[in-house]
Symmetry: C3
């Protein structure tokens, strides 16, 4: 709560939760087994490349999207799924994406296709993330996790990140149990087109019809320390709308956005990059935190304000997104 005048978001951030003892990384592990020190994977833009076409796979590799997703779902026709699984496995093994995340989007569990998708890609030790479509409840996550635990190599099993797509009203009902279903869940995605189809909603330019769904998703994501990735901008030739959507998404608390065309990626990533001023401030927080924890002191004062755990986490995330 505020009680001084003209206080900025940043200053209000750092004047709370005074900790009288040292913040130890071990303490920060929460009941859902996500840890404070869990590495933040930058995912300002999430971009899909059709898994069934070499040309599309290569095109996606030429983008600088933070997260490159080889698609086995909507982008691949039913009679080309088999072929796509092989191509995607080969792409995982063959290409070095550097700092960019190497992900695969699988068909939804209820389709009956997810099992084959997983059997094909989980053996690759290069796989970093799975985008799970149409997650309706925690059971869909458990299905995928059971397969990971059964057949993925150890490094994948431990480190893989799950990105859960919210595409139905039922998914919205089960958000909490989806968020807490497994510590490997790392992000929620709002899939507006399928959400509208499921609910009979009509997507408008104002996006007002989606306020409840999008803001509920963001609240759940942050409560359980997950990323929140916003809807696609369908009008891919119109940079103004894209910027407007990015700005609103940031204001709503989203951490990134889906891209349907390579030309959207740069704008999205620019818009979801923190400002230089915020970054400098965050760096000073992390430096101070490092100095003080090494001396066994958890909370400390910076520019006359108390710095504690939530602020340090905010700073960590901000720098990871830069």
């Amino acid at each position: 709560m505020l009680n001084t005048i003209g206080i900025s978001i940043k200053s209000s951030l750092i004047n709370n939760n005074l900790l009288t003892q040292a913040i130890k990384p071990a303490l920060v592990q929460n009941k859902y087994n996500s840890t404070f020190s869990k590495k933040y994977i930058k995912r300002r833009a999430l971009f899909n490349g059709k898994g069934s076409e070499d040309r599309k796979i290569l095109a996606s590799l030429r983008t600088n999207a933070d997260s490159i997703v080889f698609d086995l779902e909507d982008g691949v026709a039913f009679n080309r799924k088999k072929e796509a699984r092989v191509k995607v496995f080969n792409a995982l093994e063959k290409y070095d994406l550097g700092h960019r995340e190497k992900a695969v989007r699988i068909n939804c569990v209820s389709s009956g296709l997810a099992e084959e998708d997983l059997k094909s890609v989980l053996p690759s030790s290069k796989l970093e993330a799975l985008v799970i479509t149409k997650v309706n409840s925690e059971k869909d996550i458990h299905f995928v996790c059971d397969m990971i635990d059964d057949i993925a190599p150890e490094n994948v099993r431990k480190n893989i990140r799950l990105i859960a797509c919210v595409e139905s009203a039922m998914s919205l009902m089960n958000l909490k149990s989806i968020c807490t279903s497994d510590p490997r869940v790392d992000a929620l995605v709002f899939a507006s087109e399928d959400y509208c189809a499921d609910t009979g909603m009509i997507r408008t330019r104002s996006r007002e019809e989606l306020t409840y769904a999008r803001q509920a998703l963001v609240a759940h994501a942050h409560a359980f320390n997950l990323q929140a990735i916003d809807l696609v901008c369908q009008d891919y030739k119109n940079d103004d709308i894209l910027r407007e959507e990015c700005q609103e998404g940031k204001e709503f608390g989203f951490t990134g956005k889906q891209a349907i065309h390579p030309r959207q990626i740069n704008i999205i990533q620019e818009m979801f990059t923190p400002s230089q001023k915020d970054l400098e401030y965050a760096r000073r927080i992390l430096d101070g935190f490092k100095n003080h924890t090494s001396k066994g002191i958890g909370a400390f004062v910076l520019d006359g304000k108390m710095i504690d755990q939530p602020v340090v986490r905010w700073a960590e995330k901000l720098i990871s997104r830069a």
Copy 2:
């Protein structure tokens, strides 16, 4: 999720959830015992006729509202409830409404009047639906269902549809348990005036104060396969506002709207009728589905897109609303 450019809502609808086996009607029965093949009752406009006045009952019969509701609640003064119950029972028995739904609106369970209302109208084998006012929790639905099971004729007991009115903040808290309280629950109604009175809210022309309540109601309705009927337009002489409200209601995912004056009915029903283009498309989906299921094949391709269960349900509903 989307991954191609310029995809429309319809195309995104049909490219998901590939089913490898046939969709059998039996499979579609969900845990709440509502079935895929449950008949969709068209309720674009819900119109109340005062149960205590023959003139009002007759006037309501002359409208073409999809759902004609004989009212025992707010429209009937306390000292005329008894008389109204007799009139409404007689109207149920006497008039043929053709394709229009024959419904009765009862006083809320907590009023102590619902029991007598139900004793009076449940014996009619012509009763098709009950509008239950001020449903605060699943207990209100259970009370009504127990009475139906005790005293309604078999055809009513099996086929009656329950339309639950959300009129309080507590009702919003309990939406999920209300939706899943009984398979006969078929629709939710948002009663804006009483909702505002209960919460101290002030209804404005922008309707922004109601975003959370209305959108939460729609999400719950669709998650549990119920209809969602929107608030009344109070300014019953202003067609522009009525159309604006209908348009927004459709965009939000509502399937119909309450009418307080007969002149609102035609506009509401026109606005909540699907377009010819959507209808043709839906008919082709149902035709294809029929052909393929008869051959034991569930999912099939139409215009190069996979058609599966959610799409078929969408098509069925759309046609039922026409």
Copy 3:
């Protein structure tokens, strides 16, 4: 639900829930032990005075805010907490606030500072309310209540009101269990700045990013018969924005608003005061209710409309806020 034309909120309010027996105060006690006859504490404006500075404490006493809050949290630097606790205890004991509520804002439970705060102020028999910051779950309320039950004088233990601040996404997840954690919980406060920091949201002039959080808070508050106190208006020199925010807050169902500067208090209290017309109407309801309950009759007719329990409660609250 509405069924007549041109009905106003007030008339819709009073035509429902006909009670056939007398409303007895004992009946009105709900499952959360809050009672119908629980006194409504007027809190149109909530104003904090820094607990560490005599000058600020005195300044807050000179305001006519309904609720005067001596602050031990953000307004007090870490190294001055001890001193502030003494000053606040002395202020509680020394000053007579008349009709204004005498409250203390404590540091959040997870800070480790709340225990000392409570040990310092709970012994004062003059303490009327505690503002509990950063309530993340019902456990935070239980912690405070256990200390109240242990060390507060009997009159405080019984009558103290708890004002819970919602400042995080996790708090929003747990709203229901927070509202029902203890019968002494009397109000929720939306702390927008910390909420935005916790979720990475950016507060805008439109406040649209906060629709879900604010409206969810209001719905929960009213469902469990609590007050809902809205966000602060940061631009404390701009009366137009303050009035705009007050108007929106009222429309959303908030019962009051936080003030960060004394000059905001009068405008807030004026805006959150019911109109003369509403007040006269409410007085007639309470008079009628008194007359009829004394004769053993609960529900009664006023201006041709039935008056029942929810309407009487609405009238009581309205008059308390005047």
